[in-house]
């Protein structure tokens, strides 16, 4: 399968078109935006092959293979840091962006117009001064529901496409929340996992309450990215590091959605916390993971074993991949 991998870095977006072996940026004269723009997020959608959205400190941009460049999308987020971009699985024109300061902006027409949600995040945080959105997830079972994590202010859910929000922090040992994963068992039963600075948390009541999960296999408590290679499966990969940004990190895998864990095989030690894991339903066995300080790991066996790629980049914040060409 032909695919392109994308890495959001503090020096714009890097592309790999040879399975992660080599990485390059678009040419500065024709790339469409500043090659040293800070990019925090990348998003692809199966209905829009060859298209990539990225959130930066210069605004929101859309890359298309046809144009071979990024095009600027006017939005009220230009002065903000666009740290998260996500398209609804059933509607690529339904775009949700999370920013620093911790705000949510929604477009339901592919970025033509935007509304700022009245998200009741903290407007001031002693520890980091300013809150920021660390993940956006569309509810896998409820089309109008959006979940987000905020550093440092907990978990929020909207059941009306972002018009109103509920803060869900009961039981969290730490509101420094990073990522969410959902497992729906049918008959309304669901488990949600939330990664935080103080280990993983689990909810079985739609986030109304959380229970901390202590994971003996993890030498540290700082959990960051959690991803299911297969949608709504019991298998989940989690990244954990010594701290942000950290000096060490590793990956864990669970085949019973967080009840038990084991360490993933890694060819090389991580040089910092693994910040992002990139998956795509087009091939659940193919995953990328990146440390915040530039290492890139690839797995071709569903996340059980990881090979460090020779190429390293600068500071990486997110990685993803998508089929291109005839395989898209």
């Amino acid at each position: 399968m032909q695919y392109t991998a994308y890495a959001a870095t503090m020096q714009s977006v890097w592309f790999s078109r040879d399975e992660g072996e080599s990485w390059s940026r678009l040419l500065t004269p024709t790339g469409g935006f500043y090659n040293e723009a800070r990019s925090w997020s990348v998003c692809t959608h199966p209905d829009r092959p060859g298209e990539l959205l990225t959130g930066t400190d210069q605004g929101l941009y859309r890359f298309t293979e046809d144009a071979g460049r990024f095009d600027y999308i006017p939005s009220p987020m230009d002065p903000l840091h666009i740290q998260q971009v996500k398209q609804h699985p059933k509607d690529p024109d339904f775009i949700v962006c999370g920013t620093r300061p911790g705000e949510i902006f929604v477009s339901e027409n592919g970025g033509e117009s935007w509304r700022r949600c009245n998200l009741n995040t903290a407007t001031e945080c002693w520890f980091i001064n300013t809150t920021r959105v660390t993940s956006v997830a569309f509810d896998p079972s409820h089309d109008n529901s959006i979940w987000i994590t905020v550093e440092i202010d907990g978990v929020f859910r909207s059941d009306d496409r972002g018009h109103t929000w509920t803060r869900l922090v009961d039981g969290l040992h730490d509101n420094d929340t990073h990522d969410l994963a959902f497992r729906d068992y049918g008959n309304g039963k669901r488990t949600i996992l939330c990664s935080t600075e103080e280990s993983m948390h689990r909810s079985t009541d739609e986030g109304q309450s959380w229970q901390q999960i202590l994971i003996p296999e993890a030498p540290w408590m700082y959990f960051r990215s959690i991803k299911q290679p297969f949608e709504n499966s019991d298998t989940i990969i989690a990244s954990v590091g010594d701290k942000p940004s950290g000096e060490e990190g590793l990956l864990l895998i669970s085949d019973d959605f967080g009840e038990t864990w084991s360490r993933c095989g890694m060819s090389d030690p991580a040089n910092s916390t693994i910040w992002s894991i990139g998956t795509n339903a087009a091939d659940p066995n193919l995953l990328f993971a990146v440390t915040i300080f530039g290492q890139i790991f690839k797995s071709t066996d569903g996340g059980r074993n990881w090979q460090k790629m020779k190429r390293e980049l600068g500071e990486i914040r997110m990685v993803t991949w998508a089929p291109v060409g005839g395989d898209a």
Partner: protein, 185 residues
């Protein structure tokens, strides 16, 4: 020194884009105006009765003056699109290019001359604005290349509150610590 940092994405005749960040420190809009009236922001609060006029903005650049649609608000603010073209790409067929479907309100070469420039060149740092009729958007259209730049910033009434009584409180949080901390409040 007051300045406006303009970050245009300028599409050339072949459809390629270049993105120079450039400083404007002189604004010409029927005479010298304060440069801080310039903005590229997307959303504005405006008085309900405020007149808004379509315009185009010319910016001095090394590769040729850029042209972008703009709106001039009744209070003097000028919102300039970050999507732009190069004037020298349009010059051979300038008469066909339209602003909101009509001929340009002023010849760009006249505006350049009034702003201290000559021919197709503006002095460094100068942005010059040509103002057209009342409109809530500014659409620059080039029929020859079949390209359009639609500048349509959100204009909200200053007394409009989309959140009303649902406006959240300005909350404070400590962060990931259970320890007593010194708050710098």
């Amino acid at each position: 020194m007051a300045l406006f940092l303009y970050k245009p994405h300028i599409m050339n005749a072949a459809g390629q884009i270049t993105s120079p960040d450039v400083i404007a420190d002189r604004l010409w809009l029927d005479g010298r105006k304060p440069v801080h009236q310039l903005t590229a922001e997307y959303s504005f609060q405006v008085d309900g009765s405020m007149d808004v006029r379509a315009a185009y903005a010319l910016m001095a650049l090394g590769g040729g003056v850029s042209i972008a649609p703009a709106l001039v608000l009744g209070d003097g603010r000028v919102t300039v699109s970050r999507n732009a073209w190069r004037l020298n790409n349009l010059e051979p067929h300038m008469g066909e290019v339209t602003l909101n479907g009509a001929a340009f309100p002023n010849d760009p070469l006249d505006i350049i001359a009034q702003a201290g420039g000559k021919g197709l060149e503006l002095p460094r740092g100068v942005m010059a604005i040509a103002v057209g009729g009342s409109a809530k958007c500014a659409i620059l259209a080039d029929p020859k290349s079949e390209r359009v730049i639609d500048h349509r910033p959100a204009l909200n009434a200053v007394d409009e509150d989309p959140w009303g009584s649902d406006r959240p409180d300005p909350r404070y949080t400590v962060g990931p610590t259970q320890k007593e901390v010194t708050h710098y409040l």
